[in-house]
């Protein structure tokens, strides 16, 4: 048979058709697409990069177990470069162009609020897996990070009992810091204390000399510091350099969430009180297995931090819901999650609270010692009572607000 132009065209068209075939035939059975938006570069990448590693580990484990519903899970991930404007842009692309089945991600509260409405409007299920200020009430959104009631409600009375009733608050100047500062004020008042000062700092402030003098003028018994990001780390160093770490105890709702305690020397960090859902020091079979898998994938466990684990749990919660629902369609998956879905992972048992779409989880009181978080006490299965007080998605499934606390 000689190969003339016509034959060649026919043959290649058939070949192209054959190649294209599987893609078309797989329309329903191709990979499940999980969209993600995370800051893998820029000033928040210390938070975002380990989250990215955690989600890749989670998806690799899910796929190694045969995927979901017999389909492989594929990550469609975008690096938002610590730029809030990029969140909106990439969220649009995920829902319009990539048509993903779920979106996981967002680091700062500002980034979550930048994309939450887009995803709700596009009817794309959204998981935000970072500790935050609480109050989001949206049936399309699931949040498994600790909220102030789970964290500050534990941390504040404990830190006050270790120090005294007069409290000074230093917070980051955006929605997380502002709202968390108000929650801290509430818990200080509830426990018979007094807030003697509140200061807010833009994220690029790195000189705290005058603040340290102001704090001393107010003479508090305790300083609580929900400060965020690299520049704010300078506070903890300047505090120690002035010798204040020997005089006034310090507690924080954020220090260590991105492994920041490793940036401080042992002497600078020792004694700072925190309360989180996860610590690498938790000696449970699930956490040990997680750390082993992480080491196998990435060499060592240095980068694991609380929100990386939260993010890992977020992916696993969604995967479990898909298994239960038997589909990736949004409503059946939401209903599966609302059925008090519960999984056990590196940070312990995590259960979805159907009323708020937040998580019921373990909280650990911890103290920094030699650049490690030392466990003091575990409070098992704390509900998100702050958000529960304002949000009821069972009664009002169409609710779509972020409630803020009034003091």
């Amino acid at each position: 048979m000689t190969l003339n132009r016509r034959r060649f065209l026919t043959a290649s068209a058939a070949a192209t058709g054959a190649l294209a075939m599987p893609t078309w035939a797989l329309g329903q059975t191709g990979p499940i697409r999980m969209g993600t938006v995370l800051d893998v570069s820029g000033i928040f990448d210390a938070y975002g990069t380990p989250m990215d590693m955690a989600q890749r580990l989670a998806v690799a484990q899910i796929n190694a177990d045969g995927g979901l519903l017999g389909r492989e899970v594929e990550i469609v991930g975008y690096d938002t470069q610590s730029d809030m404007a990029l969140y909106t842009q990439f969220a649009q692309r995920l829902v319009r162009q990539d048509r993903v089945d779920v979106v996981q991600g967002g680091v700062l509260s500002a980034s979550r609020e930048a994309i939450r409405q887009t995803l709700r409007r596009a009817e794309t299920l959204y998981f935000y897996n970072v500790q935050y200020e609480g109050g989001v009430c949206d049936r399309n959104t699931f949040i498994n990070g600790v909220t102030p009631a789970q964290q500050a409600e534990v941390l504040v009375p404990w830190a006050m009992s270790e120090s005294g009733p007069r409290v000074y608050i230093l917070a980051a100047d955006y929605n997380y810091g502002q709202i968390t500062a108000r929650w801290i004020q509430k818990f200080v008042a509830d426990n018979g204390g007094e807030t003697v000062g509140v200061d807010f700092f833009p994220l690029d402030v790195s000189d705290f000399g005058s603040t340290i003098a102001r704090i001393q003028t107010a003479a508090p018994d305790l300083v609580v510091a929900p400060l965020v990001g690299g520049a704010h780390l300078s506070f903890f160093r300047q505090w120690a350099a002035a010798g204040m770490n020997q005089r006034i105890p310090l507690a924080s709702t954020t220090m260590g969430v991105g492994n920041e305690h490793r940036v401080l020397t042992a002497e600078e960090g020792n004694g700072i009180m925190v309360a989180y859902n996860y610590s690498q020091g938790l000696d449970t079979p699930a956490n040990n297995a997680f750390k082993e898998a992480w080491t196998a994938a990435y060499g060592d466990t240095n980068l694991i931090h609380e929100i990386a684990v939260s993010h890992y749990m977020g992916v696993q919660l969604w995967a479990e819901a898909v298994r239960r629902a038997g589909t990736v369609d949004r409503m059946p998956v939401i209903e599966a999650l609302e059925d008090n879905l519960s999984i056990e992972g590196p940070s312990g048992v995590m259960t979805i609270d159907p009323q708020t779409h937040h998580a019921i989880l373990d909280v650990h009181k911890m103290v920094f010692n030699n650049q490690e978080m030392e466990l003091v006490e575990t409070l098992p299965q704390r509900p998100p009572v702050d958000t529960q007080a304002v949000c009821d998605l069972i009664a009002n499934p169409d609710e779509n607000t972020q409630f803020e606390i009034e003091i």
Binding site: G42, I43, D45, A46, T49, D173, D199, F200, F201, P202, D204, V205, S206, D207, F208, G209, S210, T211, I212, A213, R214, Q216, T217, A219, G230, A231, H232, L233, S234, F236, R237, Q238, A240, A241, A242, G243, M244, R247, G258, N259, E260, R262, V263, L264, T265, E267, E268, N302, L303, Q371
Partner: protein, 288 residues
């Protein structure tokens, strides 16, 4: 009484740290008119050099005052030979190139040091003024910046290199006609400016959380100080840093740190409206 001493120390410290972070930029931008957007990363490089040197067992003062300036100065020398010397007189191109350099450096820091590098602790303990604890290291920074200004003055006024450098910055063609190579003078000046940035980063390292992106926190303040200072190097640096440091600290202390930053920026705007070419275009003219 003790409070006013504390405030005085904080104000002096704020001025001193502004002088430190701006000195390298004042040389590179003020003298050579090269907009180095990687200035903050040069400082961070100085900080990481200090941390690494201290980790290797070098005395912290040697690491900060000698090792870091030399390393960053050499780095500046290499970068000048490879990149900047091709771009003199092309301001926008220089900005773009140095911005790219800063991104590369941030990426490099991240690859080499990671996001969580344990810092070095300040070598000077805090002390007490009445009821107040004061950071003893602040005094060290004040001393370093005063010595730095004196050294810059001595170098520019008292040495032959200073004279030639000043001449080259004013009229490169005349300097060349007198037998000096502008190319070499620019190279030396850029390296000196880089070394000063390295010194600043090293000396501030014990007080800041050093992460790869820390440079961004310094660059804006450094540029505002240098531009408001105007054409006269040392006097411009001292007067602009003095004004901004004072305003920033007084408002931070009396109202809040946010208002302190706002006051600094408002002062800068007003100053540049009244003195568009900087403080020293009107005062201290013809001095150093």
């Amino acid at each position: 009484m003790d409070l006013s001493v504390v405030i005085l120390i904080e104000v002096l410290y704020a001025i001193a740290s502004l002088i430190l972070i701006s000195a390298g930029l004042a040389v590179v931008f003020g003298m050579m008119k090269v907009i180095n957007l990687a200035h903050g990363e040069f400082m961070v490089l100085g900080g990481y050099t200090t941390i690494t040197a201290v980790g290797l067992g070098v005395n912290i003062f040697v690491a900060m005052l000698i090792v870091a300036p030399i390393v960053v100065g050499l780095f500046g020398l290499i970068v000048e030979r490879l990149v900047f010397r091709h771009l003199y007189g092309r301001m926008i191109d220089t900005m773009l190139a140095s911005w790219g350099l800063s991104l590369m450096m941030i990426g490099g820091f991240k690859m080499i040091f990671g996001n969580t590098t344990t810092g070095v602790a300040g070598p000077i303990p805090g002390f007490t003024v009445g009821n107040y604890q004061v950071n003893g290291y602040n005094l060290f920074i004040i001393v370093v910046s005063v010595l730095l200004l004196l050294a810059m003055l001595a170098l520019l006024r008292g040495t032959r290199f200073g004279l030639i450098a000043r001449g080259t910055m004013q009229r490169a063609d005349m300097a060349a006609a007198m037998g000096h190579s502008p190319d070499r003078i620019y190279m030396m000046t850029f390296a000196l400016g880089s070394a000063l940035a390295g010194l600043a980063g090293a000396v501030l390292a014990p007080l800041v959380g050093l992460v790869p992106t820390a440079g961004a926190a310094f660059i804006a303040k450094a540029f505002i100080t240098v531009i408001a200072g105007g054409p006269v190097l040392v006097a411009g640096l001292a007067s602009a840093a003095g004004t901004f440091g004072l305003v920033n600290q007084v408002f931070s202390f009396l109202v809040s740190p946010v208002v302190g930053d706002v006051a600094l920026l408002v002062t800068a705007i007003v100053l540049l409206r009244l003195l568009p070419r900087g403080i020293t275009a009107r005062f201290f003219r013809g001095r150093l």
